[in-house]
Amino acid sequence: MTASGRDVYRETLTGLAETDDRILCFEADLGGRRHPFAERHPDRFFNLGIAEATMVDMAAGLAAAGYKPFLSTFAPFAALRAAESLKLTLGYLGAGVTVVAPYAGVSGAWFGTTHHCLEDVAVLRAIPGVVIAAPYGEEEMRAVIEYAAVSGRPHYVRTGRNAAYRALPGSRAGAGERVPPVVWDHRAGADAVCLVSVGEEATRMCLEARQREPGLGHAHLCYLDHEHLTLAAAQLAAAHRRFVVVEEHRAQGGAAEALALLMPERVVTGVNAGRDWPSEGGDHAEVMARLGLDTAAVITATR
């Protein structure tokens, strides 16, 4: 059975900690009652309570002492409430701390505005040196966490709530290797419009769009920081002239904006969450649709 991104994170980290006793797992009271890491490694699991900024700053101290802290709390609280701590710890110090942030985008759905996070990539992209990942599917999440554990680099990993997907073929070159800058789902001719998907639901929508419009190209990007987007842009620009970037994020500070700057000779447009503040109930797909994020919008944008 396919697992959600946050479940894959927990299982992967629990497994990695079997052979690496420097790995520590922190939660800010949103880890649930039966966390696999807590059950397997109780001496290295810490629920610090509802104290996000403290958790990030403490992780800097632990990383300085040689530990590998992995922190998790909902994206709106990690990226926005603890933003200054992320700047100091992940950015300024470049500490080997990994922040795993579920409930990104509007996956919080009916939980409301405080639990939505359409700004996190913009915040983290503005902090140089941080590896930003938005994996699609369990194999990609596993690869991202494994790389974070060995790389010593600061990571911000965004994921959804409970949606579970299988990663695209080619998202992992081999065991222990990083997800490539571009995961090609479908290569079309240079004249075809190429969809570029970021994150779980955007990738799902692009897959659906391409089923309806087989002539479209489709590239999926797991990593969204400047370093990886620069590598991706070189590959994308060599293959297509026109791109539609789909992301569950605002246009400001998102992947489309970045790719447009990195590919000045190419046409880059976006399908994203726009400028609205979602304030109504509904499930995840319904809240996205209210923001203009659905498969029909993706297809329309390619015309």
Binding site: L48, A51, D57, G61, L62, A65, E84
Partner: protein, 269 residues
């Protein structure tokens, strides 16, 4: 471990002598083109020097100046304790030198960028936690200002440190009673401060923040078996050591000329 009386006297004299030298360096930095946070730098100096001397024991103790606006005091203290070889005063605030108005980790001995208040406290708690997890000695010492205690992050960390039984975490409060816009007592008072920490589950101590022997004694305590963090409320005087500014709210940020600096340095004892 209690230091033997004669040795304690010798050590107190050494710390006092360092503080005098450091105060003169801070005044030099106030006479730089940039000026400096003079009042809070002079109030925290004795605490810093005692804490750095405690860390010099070599057991893995780290000291974080969380009230980063007192960077001039930190640079001066690091220099007189031998951590920082270069005299920072001639280069303070100057292009091409790392001695910025709030400290960053390019300065030897500085481990965490501070100045946005509150953050140094959880960093030190994280260091304390790391030492305990590794089964190693050493403390995480954070030095905060009393104005800084208005930041929620400080109390968030106190909650976590007490809940985790972090006996290796020490928070020293430089209680000089001042902040940027005036007096702490007028802006957001802190009545019964030591009791507040006690209510969080801390061990507490109240000391004269300008008494090297008292500071050394409280920081020297054996905390290897402690299960409660320690809060030290150190009573200090803003602008301590320079009569012209002692106790004055206007001493918060000062820029002076060289002649005045030389005059002030002569009266520092």
């Amino acid at each position: 471990m209690t230091v033997a009386p004669q040795r304690a006297d010798t050590r107190a004299r050494l710390l006092a002598e360092r503080a005098t030298r450091a105060r003169r360096l801070v005044v030099d930095m106030a006479a730089s083109p940039r000026g400096c946070h003079l009042g809070g730098s002079l109030s925290v100096l004795d605490i810093l020097i005692a804490a750095l001397d405690r860390a010099d024991r070599g057991d893995g103790t780290e000291v974080v100046l969380s009230k980063g606006h007192a960077a001039a005091a930190l640079y001066a203290a690091l220099h007189v304790t031998g951590v920082l070889a270069e005299n920072p005063a001639p280069h303070y605030g100057q292009a091409g030198h790392p001695y910025t108005g709030h400290p960053g980790p390019k300065v030897p001995g500085v481990i965490f960028p501070t100045g946005s208040l509150g953050h140094g406290v959880p960093y030190a708690a994280g260091w304390a936690m790391a030492r305990r997890l590794a089964g190693r000695p050493g403390l995480g010492i954070a030095i905060a200002g009393d104005g800084e205690l208005q930041e929620g992050l400080v109390w968030e960390t106190c909650q976590v440190a007490a809940a985790r039984g972090l006996g290796t975490f020490v928070l020293v409060v430089d209680r000089n009673g001042g902040q940027n816009d005036g007096l702490v007592a007028d802006i957001s008072p802190l009545p019964r401060l030591a009791e507040r920490f006690a209510a969080f589950g801390f061990e507490t101590a109240e000391v004269d923040g300008h008494d090297p022997a008292a500071l050394a004694e409280v920081l020297d305590g054996d905390r290897s078996g402690a299960t409660r963090p320690l809060a030290v409320v150190a009573a200090t005087v803003k602008g301590k050591g320079v009569p012209a500014v002692e106790g004055k709210a206007a001493a918060h940020y000062v820029t002076i000329d060289r002649a005045r600096a030389e005059k002030w340095k002569r009266v520092i004892r």
